[in-house]
């Protein structure tokens, strides 16, 4: 056997490097999975205790609207009904995402396809800046500007889903925008050139070629935006009114899962029903975001298949 033949069969520096790299990457992803598993287990074990240990009926939890885990109703059952919060959380998240998406994608298109370099260069840091503003500041601005504004136009107290939506709209805007920019940027240049060369107008190119190619990335951006809206507590809590009532309309005080969770968790004692019930809210939150995720993924996949054809 000559030298090359043996070298072909032996492992070399490159194989070792590759092995090393794989070990590192697999460990990292392993660590994340371990972490996710830990958190999920933690929340699930606490959140399920409400039903297993404290004997709350799961169906009642989802469909009743009386939330007073400390008290019992006239039949002696604990009052743990999370429906108003589930409805409100869904409403603000979807409304905020619906409102923010056109603005965010419009801005992203502007930054990647239309604006000259200087315009984009100015907008990007400003948008990233907004991510860093603490929720509590958003909350206070909402309280001092948005709530009176809504009150002035629609009457009532001004607290409610509409105010929550508007605050969340501003909060998720930067997240969706900057992720959309990334995904639009990753559409290869030759797609644009090919389309323009075929005589398509700029808008046709954007609409038919670029947005289609970037669709999965844009969806991800929206998911992340919704995720932020879902998980947001401090800001929403200040403007939504924080009342456990079925929202009758967009301007009646309501309460989201997170705002309830944040307000009360410090006042409850670990291991008791009021505490476990709050963890059940966290669990619902988790399932809701899982659901959203799957829906968006499903839509994304169908879009992809269509594109391929």
């Amino acid at each position: 056997m000559d030298d090359i033949q043996t070298r072909l069969q032996k492992s070399s520096r490159a194989t070792r490097q590759d092995y090393f790299g794989k070990v590192i990457c697999y460990s990292c992803i392993g660590l994340i999975i371990l972490l996710v598993a830990c958190i999920l287990y933690f929340i699930a074990s606490k959140g399920l205790a409400t039903f297993t240990k404290n004997g709350v009926n799961f169906w009642n939890f989802l469909t009743q609207s009386d939330w007073k885990p400390g008290d019992v109703d006239k039949y002696g059952n604990p009052q743990v009904g999370a429906l108003p919060m589930i409805v409100t959380s869904f409403s603000v998240t979807i409304l905020a995402a619906l409102l923010a998406t056109p603005f965010a994608i419009g801005t992203a298109i502007f930054m990647t396809e239309i604006a000259n370099k200087r315009g984009a260069k100015f907008l990007q840091p400003v948008i990233e800046l907004l991510v860093g503003i603490p929720s509590v500041v958003y909350g206070f601005i909402g309280l001092s500007l948005i709530v009176p504004f809504i009150r002035g136009i629609f009457g009532g107290t001004g607290f409610g889903i509409l105010s929550g939506t508007l605050v969340l709209f501003v909060m998720v805007l930067p997240t969706i925008t900057s992720l959309s920019v990334d995904s639009l940027k990753s559409v290869p240049m030759h797609y644009r050139q090919a389309s323009l060369a075929l005589g398509a107008t700029r808008w046709q190119t954007i609409y038919k070629v670029i947005l289609k190619a970037a669709a999965p990335g844009l969806l991800t951006a929206v998911i992340f935006g919704m995720a932020r809206a879902f998980g947001e507590a401090l800001a929403v809590q200040m403007v939504i009114g924080n009342a456990i009532l079925m929202p009758k309309n967009l301007i009646s005080p309501a309460s989201t899962l997170t705002s309830k969770l944040t307000t009360e968790i410090g006042n409850t004692v670990m291991g008791t029903l009021p505490n476990n019930a709050l963890w059940s809210l966290a669990l619902v939150l988790l399932f809701m975001s899982l659901l959203f995720n799957l829906i968006v993924r499903f839509i994304g996949r169908r879009g992809n298949i269509k594109n391929e054809r």
């Binding site: 004692v269 670990m270 291991g271």
Partner: protein, 296 residues
């Protein structure tokens, strides 16, 4: 392939362990080494009490450099459950341990370090300055819904309650509602937010600790008694409660020294007043966990 995944997950686990053991080592290393009274005190709980304890701890440490005190918030419930578990030395609470489900009050020792008075506050344009205790009750139970019924402006009443389970709410409801349930309404958990909401929302009513009442909101008198420290001291003003620092069993060493300091004149005469609390020494009456008031 499978083997690699197992190896890598083991590695990940190992990394986590390394991080954590590394940390606990360094923290235990900083703990020991001293001759006189030394130690580390962690006090967790009530956010309302936190500034007082924090400030007192700062002053205390100037003379007791060997004692390290960490003061954190997290809420009364957190404070009580953590001190009960023994994870922290002191649990700060604005509520009696007896009033909290899931807390075994017998195991804990109560140190009352201050008294806090609370008053109903309303938005300025409600046009009402005085209510009777019964009217107040009817407002919070939803029976009176307009300020004009109390001689004020024709304005809907917006009730802003405090977070369920908070000490402030427990105190208010036991003094005012007398066992009835408050209507479902907006809830907020912090004095600052409540103050801001009441001051900006027409027709709003809520209640605040004395120290948070300023000229942006209108503090109501009840049955013509004004919300003042003196009225609290002889229980003419009914809505007040203690600020507690709980320890598990009798405090020892550093913790004992610190709690003694909290009760000393240094703190009671100066700090407590500066922070807008009422000193326990000034009180002419006392209250037990069931809300029964007796002469001291």
């Amino acid at each position: 392939m499978k083997k690699k995944t197992i190896i890598s997950s083991l590695l990940a686990l190992g990394a986590l362990m390394a991080i954590t053991t590394g940390c606990s080592n360094s923290s235990s290393a900083t703990k020991s080494s001293s001759s006189e009274v030394s130690g580390k005190i962690t006090a967790v709980g009530s956010t309302a009490l936190q500034p007082l304890v924090e400030k007192a701890a700062g002053d205390f440490q100037k003379d007791n450099s060997k004692i390290n005190i960490t003061v954190q918030g997290g809420g009364s419930g957190t404070g009580l459950s953590q001190v009960q578990d023994g994870s922290v030395k002191v649990g700060n609470s604005d509520i009696f341990a007896e009033q909290k489900d899931g807390i075994d009050a017998k195991k804990l020792v109560d140190h009352k370090v201050a008294v806090v008075g609370m008053a109903p506050v309303v938005n300025k344009d409600a046009g009402v300055k005085n209510v009777t205790m019964d009217q107040l009750k009817q407002i919070f139970t939803g029976k009176i819904t307009n300020w004009k019924d109390l001689g004020g402006k024709d304005e809907k009443i917006t009730v802003v309650n405090r977070a369920e389970g908070s000490g402030t709410r427990a105190t208010f409801e036991s003094a005012v509602l007398g066992g009835e349930k408050a209507i479902k309404s907006q809830e907020q958990d912090s004095n600052g937010t409540v103050q801001k909401i009441v001051s900006t929302t027409p027709g709003a009513i809520s209640y605040l600790a004395f120290s948070y009442i300023n000229d942006k909101v209108e503090a109501l008198s009840i049955d013509d008694v004004k919300a003042t420290d003196d009225n609290v001291a002889d229980n003419k003003w009914k809505i007040w409660s203690y600020e507690h620092m709980y320890t598990k069993g009798d405090p020892k060493d550093a913790t004992k020294k610190f709690i003694e300091y909290m009760k000393s004149d240094d703190v009671q005469k100066k700090l407590v007043k500066d922070m807008g609390y009422i000193s326990t020494n000034d009180m002419k009456v006392q209250k037990d966990s069931k809300g029964t008031v007796s002469d001291k």
